[in-house]
């Protein structure tokens, strides 16, 4: 199985970090994987996106043009990438930041007020991880088990104090109905 994941939003929302978590989760599972950030002028205050491919086979292109899973944290990203999602794919929307609904009828759409949940729980910078918690609940490309090891790798030693809050954010998303 190959899963192509695209995460998109504004610079500063932790788009690349979210991708790194999934990449490290894949590494823990022993999967083939690639992580490709957008780099350049759009990172500085503009839009940021991140391609992650997880697979049991060697990976061809690391550039996700037809995502199976799309995670969006701002409206321009939903506008830009909604049509690219494969039929039957999944779109995860931060509904605090994006008011409109997904227009496509041939995909599964999930609405999570991630930014609001993050603020209410005192972890305002971790809406990205709340979204990922929900993504992992609704998808089968990687099991929820083993998140601790992946979080430990992706949270650098310097920021080890952020280990618990990242797990908390994932759990908030994972248990969100």
């Amino acid at each position: 199985m190959t899963t192509q994941i695209l995460i998109a939003g504004f610079g500063g929302q932790g788009i690349l970090f979210a991708g790194k978590f999934l990449a490290n989760k894949g590494l823990v599972e022993g999967k083939q994987l690639s992580w490709l950030p957008s780099y350049g002028p759009e990172m500085r205050g503009g839009t940021a996106n991140c391609s992650v491919v997880l697979s049991d086979e060697p990976i061809g292109s690391p550039i996700v043009t037809k995502p199976d899973v799309l995670i969006v944290m701002n409206l321009p990203s939903l506008d830009k990438y909604e049509d690219a999602v494969v039929p039957g794919g999944k779109i995860f929307v931060d509904s605090t930041l994006i008011e409109r609904k997904v227009r496509r009828r041939d995909v599964d759409a999930y609405y999570i007020p991630a930014t609001q949940l993050a603020q209410q729980n005192g972890i305002p910078t971790l809406a990205n991880m709340i979204l990922l918690g929900k993504v992992m609940r609704e998808s089968d490309f990687t099991p929820y088990e083993g998140i601790e090891e992946a979080v430990r790798t992706v949270v650098s030693a310097k920021h080890a104090d952020l280990f618990d809050v990242n797990l908390k954010a994932l759990e908030l998303g994972h248990s969100f109905e």
């Binding site: 590494l27 350049g40 061809g60 292109s61 550039i63």
Partner: protein, 354 residues
């Protein structure tokens, strides 16, 4: 898989260089290769190595020239506009028969161009770049693992043939992360090279490292000698990957990130019953001429897929002596073709033939 680590392509180059015994790095920051310099800045001081941010790319390559003359492993890295600045120094290093590693993580050009990935320095890397009769060994990695492996390979080949080697990557491979298994660090006890300029201590004749030969007979002789070595490189050091070529009627030729995209297109085309495969040159110089020439006897056509206006296509035509049509699928300026675009080009090639 636990022995694998996640690294950016640029970081993998730096770590692999250190493990290959390189203790001298000279560079100047430029997107999208700055992580190489940043990694070296962190690590070199801790292991007794030298990291030096030069005042310019020109200064950096001449510092490389200096260290290369002592026989030590040395490197510089940059991206396209910066590598243009280095060309004079590269020609001098080639003319002095010195080994070193030059990394080019390409971005779109010409001029300052952009910062997005490109392969439009193919001509510069493989056809000279600087002035005079010379070649570089040019390796084109297409994964983070190969960024590491080819770095170490480049140092070995440069030493073996006493010539500069270039790692020709692009912004995508430089910026992406993949799991990578790093080689064990090789302790390279410094071996005095018979030609190195390390001080005579009044014990031996002077060694001279130089590229100036004012007597044309001498310069010609030097160049002929050098080309004898190049011939050996062409005979012994060609590397390529063959993908789904066994029963192929059409052959895509692509390197680096273009080859990764092309693989997806080849797999998609196979699902539609089109017998197509991929030959991926890993060494761009020496170019895999022989396999392409042999392939021309078996296939109906070739397709060169490039992040340039069409540069490698000339070598594909030369290698196959134009016996089969060679199509081109190209994007430029920092754009990358999608697998669908390559698939469409494969179908066009098939339609043109049948």
């Amino acid at each position: 898989m636990s022995d694998k680590v996640l690294m950016k392509g640029n970081e993998a180059i730096a770590e692999a260089a250190i493990r290959a015994g390189c203790r001298h790095y000279f560079g100047y920051p430029i997107t999208p290769q700055t992580e190489v310099a940043a990694y070296m800045a962190k690590r070199m001081p801790k292991i007794g190595g030298v990291f030096l941010q030069a005042e310019s790319e020109i200064a950096a390559i001449n510092m490389v020239y200096g260290v290369a003359g002592t026989g030590r492993r040395v490197m510089t890295s940059s991206s396209s506009p910066g590598v243009s600045l280095k060309q004079e120094g590269i020609s001098y290093i080639a003319g002095s028969d010195l080994p070193c590693l030059i990394v080019n993580v390409q971005r779109g050009g010409p001029g300052l161009g952009g910062i997005q990935p490109s392969q439009s320095d193919y001509f510069q890397a493989t056809k000279g770049g600087g002035h005079g009769d010379y070649h570089l060994i040019v390796l084109a990695p297409s994964s983070v693992q190969e960024m590491a492996d080819m770095t170490s390979k480049a140092f070995d080949l440069a030493d073996k043939y006493r010539m500069p080697a270039m790692l020709l990557a692009d912004g995508t491979i430089g910026q992406m992360m993949e799991p990578v298994k790093l080689a064990e660090p090789v302790e390279h006890p410094f071996v005095e090279k018979e030609w190195a300029v390390t001080g005579t201590k009044m014990q031996r004749e002077h060694h001279i490292v130089n590229s100036l030969y004012l007597v044309p007979e001498q310069l010609e002789k030097k160049n002929f000698e050098r080309y004898e070595r190049y011939k050996k490189v062409e005979e012994n050091e060609v590397i390529y990957e063959s993908f789904m070529m066994d029963d192929a009627e059409y052959c895509v030729v692509a390197f680096g990130i273009a080859a990764r995209v092309s693989k997806n297109a080849v797999v998609a085309a196979r699902k539609e019953g089109i017998k197509v495969g991929l030959i991926r040159p890993v060494t761009l110089w020496p170019f895999p001429k022989k396999v392409l020439s042999e392939t021309a006897e078996k296939v109906k056509g070739f397709l060169s897929v490039e992040l340039s206006m069409g540069q490698m296509i000339e070598d594909v035509k030369l290698a196959t002596s134009c016996r089969r049509p060679v199509g081109l699928c190209r994007r430029s300026g920092g754009m990358i073709p999608s697998p669908d675009e390559v698939l469409e080009a494969i179908k066009n090639m098939q339609r043109g033939e049948e």
